[in-house]
């Protein structure tokens, strides 16, 4: 699945995604949380934490403006929400090259779709990055 953070293009494997929802207007803040954590939402009775992907990946620029979208990653018995700007569509990516030298650990590599560069993310590594942000805060 392809999506955007402002103008940059990213991709996540479709199998890792449970659903995409419109970001809510209000958030319940998570106390003592790292900066990237936007808050928690009530998803049909479940409490799901949402992180701003831009902040998590240390992409320079203003925090992702809402209303955006929240990508819900399937993490077995729980979910992790990623705040993004918008979804572009679904494409298959054949070849993933090495990531940029200073990229976050959550980046699996770079791919090309036509003329456009796409950063491919690793869902497991994203999850681990969030947990690390909590413990090293």
């Amino acid at each position: 699945m392809l999506f955007r953070l402002e103008k940059d293009r990213y991709a996540l494997p479709l199998s890792a995604i449970r659903e995409v929802i419109v970001a809510p207007d209000t958030w319940t803040r998570v106390p003592r949380a790292p900066r990237a954590v936007r808050g928690v939402i009530n998803l049909r009775g479940r409490v799901v934490p949402v992180v701003d992907l831009r902040e998590l990946l240390d992409v320079p620029g203003a925090p992702t403006s809402t209303p955006g979208r929240v990508v819900l990653l399937d993490r077995g018995r729980r979910e992790l929400g990623l705040l993004i700007s918008d979804v572009d569509g679904i494409e298959s990516i054949e070849k993933v090259g090495p990531p940029a030298p200073k990229a976050s650990l959550a980046v699996k590599g770079l791919a090309r779709l036509g003329a456009l560069p796409v950063t491919v993310l690793d869902p497991d590594a994203l999850d681990a990055t969030v947990a690390r942000a909590f413990t090293t805060k």
């Binding site: 106390p31 949380a33 009775g45 409490v47 018995r77």
Partner: protein, 658 residues
């Protein structure tokens, strides 16, 4: 008396002599093996190994006994199929015989026993290979598997129940097998056999196969005995069975006239007190999750209904009320189904106490009361380790050796009591010993020596707070403290577990008289009563159990102590913490007139939390925090309010320290 009941040194030379004889004979047998293995030969070897095991274990030479035991197991396998004996097997046996001889020699000279772990493993592997099964763990063998499905009701011996007017009277018996007894399964079987000499046994619960396998929850056995013997004679017979107590006996009311054939099932149902099925705990957790979410969803519907036009309200409200009642009923039933007696964990304590006491050469009596009180299964599971831990501490470090006790004018046998009582919505477990007590002064010194607190801080502590110092992580992991203060290892873990299930820990001690640990835990995990408070735009829940009171006063009128604000609370002065800064969230505009302060009990003692608003009290369904939210210090859980808003529940105990 714990430990060997006789002076083992008296038997040492006898042991050495006889064990050597057995080992010598065993060695000769191994040589004869090479001329051909016969059942008689392997049988003879088995007996030698068995004898050595028994003797070694009587002398408390555990390593020797274990090695001999593995050899015995191997020979038992070979006995069943002597064709499996080959040169390699013979070599390992000979090697083991040599090792055992070395053990006996070392024992005779009071030297430490050689390490034979590798050989023990080798024997297990070899035996498993010969049997064609994976090797068992070198430690304790796994318990027998518990059947997934419900055990069928006990079949009567003949399979046919002839109920006629001439039938002899039937008695209902309730037996209790002492859980500390050796081989409780065999004890139960013995009691059963003894009763069958008097008449016919019916309605045996648990079924005989379960009894034989030792699966007797709480040691309780019920049955009906049809016999011509008098009640007195049954009682007398049961008195001849050690470690099995006849708890009650009574005549069974004669069943109504026998039903026509084919209606047997109905009759059985009528006689059964209750039928049970086994359910995986995981499934029970899901039931609870869903029932909880139904409650939340119902609250949400009620909230929406409030915004409906007045004309629609009455039928809608009525439906929501009805829905709420049904869902609440379902939730209660699910909670009820999760209730498990504490006996699940206390049943193994007598045995553990005996083992610990024996290892430490202490003479200790353990008395358990109230173990049939029920708690949510999740809490019972959590309490298993803390309770065992407290028991170990009580025997290891609380109860003194017999000589010391005698010198102090106490009975030589120490007493450890675990009493379980129900106090409103809490269950209180008290583990007390009559040992030496905790040396409070020494404890204070140690805390300062270790740099965990300043002398001033220690001086300011109440007695209760001082005792809680044994739960300081930096202190309780230091082994040298254990013996000095009479307490220690892992108390921080005990406290953490108890508080994680919403409970509390209290300690009382009297020098030279003993110590009591009091664990108060909720009956159930899922519902929690909250005081909701507002901070800026956020709402947080404080568990009511931790709230001592609320004061409203203007922030500007707070007294200052060392330039930090403090709150006057009765006779004492409490430190004030801004909840917004503790939680790192923006605060709302401070009111010039009056702000609420919530007084809570934290790990640091009593503190006042400054909040912006009080929003009232609510009973909510507590949800556990999933990764990564569980990494946030100071949060106990989360819930969803009727308006759909997620609200975090604060871990008041750790809020200030974390």
């Amino acid at each position: 008396m714990a430990g060997a009941s006789w002076d083992t040194s008296r038997y040492l030379s006898l042991f050495a002599g006889e064990a050597s004889e057995h080992l010598e004979a065993l060695g000769k047998d191994v040589v004869r093996l090479e001329q051909g293995a016969t059942v008689a030969l392997v049988d003879s070897m088995f007996r030698h190994a068995h004898s050595v095991k028994g003797m070694a274990s009587s002398m408390a030479f555990e390593a020797t006994a274990k090695l001999a035991h593995r050899l015995e197991d191997l020979l038992d396998t070979l006995r069943a199929d002597v064709a499996k004996v080959n040169q390699a097997v013979a070599d390992v046996i000979l090697q083991t015989v040599d090792a055992l001889s070395a053990h006996v020699k070392a024992a005779t000279q009071s030297q430490p026993l050689p390490d034979s772990t590798a050989l023990v493993v080798r024997l297990s592997e070899l035996n498993a290979g010969l049997k064609g099964v994976p090797p068992p763990p070198v430690s304790a063998p796994p318990p027998p598997p518990v059947p997934e499905a419900a055990a069928p009701p006990a079949a009567s011996p003949s399979g046919v129940v002839a109920v006629d007017a001439a039938a002899p009277p039937r008695f209902a018996l309730k037996l209790k097998i002492n859980p500390a007894s050796n081989q409780p399964g065999v004890r139960g079987f013995l009691a059963y056999k003894r009763l069958t000499t008097l008449g016919n046994v019916f309605e045996l619960k648990p079924p005989l196969d379960d009894i034989k396998a030792g699966r007797v929850p709480q040691g309780a056995v019920t049955l009906e005995l049809e016999t011509d013997q008098s009640e007195e004679s049954i009682t007398r017979t049961m008195r001849t069975v050690a470690d099995v107590e006849l708890e009650s006996i009574g005549l069974v009311q004669r069943a109504p006239p026998p039903p026509p054939p084919g209606a047997e099932a109905d009759r059985v149902v009528g006689q059964e007190p209750a039928r049970t099925i086994r359910v995986r705990t995981e499934l029970m957790d899901q039931f609870l999750d869903h029932a909880g979410e139904l409650l939340l969803a119902t609250a949400r519907v009620r909230q929406i209904a409030r915004g409906m036009p007045e004309a629609l309200r009455p039928p809608l409200d009525e439906s929501v009320d009805r829905l709420h009642l049904l869902v609440k009923g379902l939730h209660d039933k699910v909670m009820q189904a999760r209730m498990t007696p504490l006996a699940l964990i206390t049943d193994r304590l007598p045995r553990a106490a005996r083992d610990i006491a024996r290892r430490r050469s202490r003479d200790v009596e353990l008395v358990i009361t109230g173990e049939d009180i029920e708690l949510d299964r999740a809490i019972v599971d959590e309490l298993a380790d803390p309770v065992l831990h407290l028991l170990r501490n009580a025997i290891d470090h609380g109860v003194e050796p017999a000589e010391v006790r005698k010198a102090a004018g106490k009975p030589p046998k120490g007493k450890v009591a675990l009493s379980v009582t129900r106090q409103r919505d809490r269950v209180v477990l008290e583990l007390s010993d009559d040992g030496r007590g905790i040396d409070v002064e020494r404890l204070k010194v140690l805390v300062v020596e270790r740099g965990l607190m300043t002398p001033e801080q220690v001086r300011g502590l109440s007695e209760r707070e001082t005792l809680m110092l044994v739960c300081l992580p930096g202190l309780s992991t230091a082994t040298d403290v254990t013996d000095i203060s009479g307490r220690g290892v892992g108390m921080d873990a005990v406290k953490r577990v108890v508080e994680a299930v919403g409970g509390s820990l209290e300690i009382e001690t009297r020098a030279g008289r003993g110590t009591t640990f009091r664990l108060a835990v909720p009956l159930t995990v899922a519902m929690v009563n909250l005081l909701l408070v507002g901070v800026g735009d956020e709402v947080y829940g404080l568990p009511i159990g931790k709230v001592s009171g609320v004061v409203e006063t203007a922030r500007g009128r707070l007294a200052l102590s060392q330039s930090a604000p403090v709150l006057q609370w009765g006779q004492s002065v409490l430190p004030v913490h801004e909840l917004s800064s503790l939680l790192e969230v923006p605060a709302g505009p401070a009111s010039a007139v009056a702000s609420p302060f919530v007084v809570v009990d934290s790990d640091e003692g009593r503190v006042a939390l400054a909040v912006d608003r009080l929003l009232g009290q609510e009973e909510v369904v507590l949800k556990a925090l999933a990764r990564p939210l569980d990494l946030v210090p100071g949060l106990a859980g989360v819930t969803i309010l009727g308006n759909g808003r997620p609200v975090f529940i604060l871990d008041v105990a750790r809020l200030v320290t974390a």
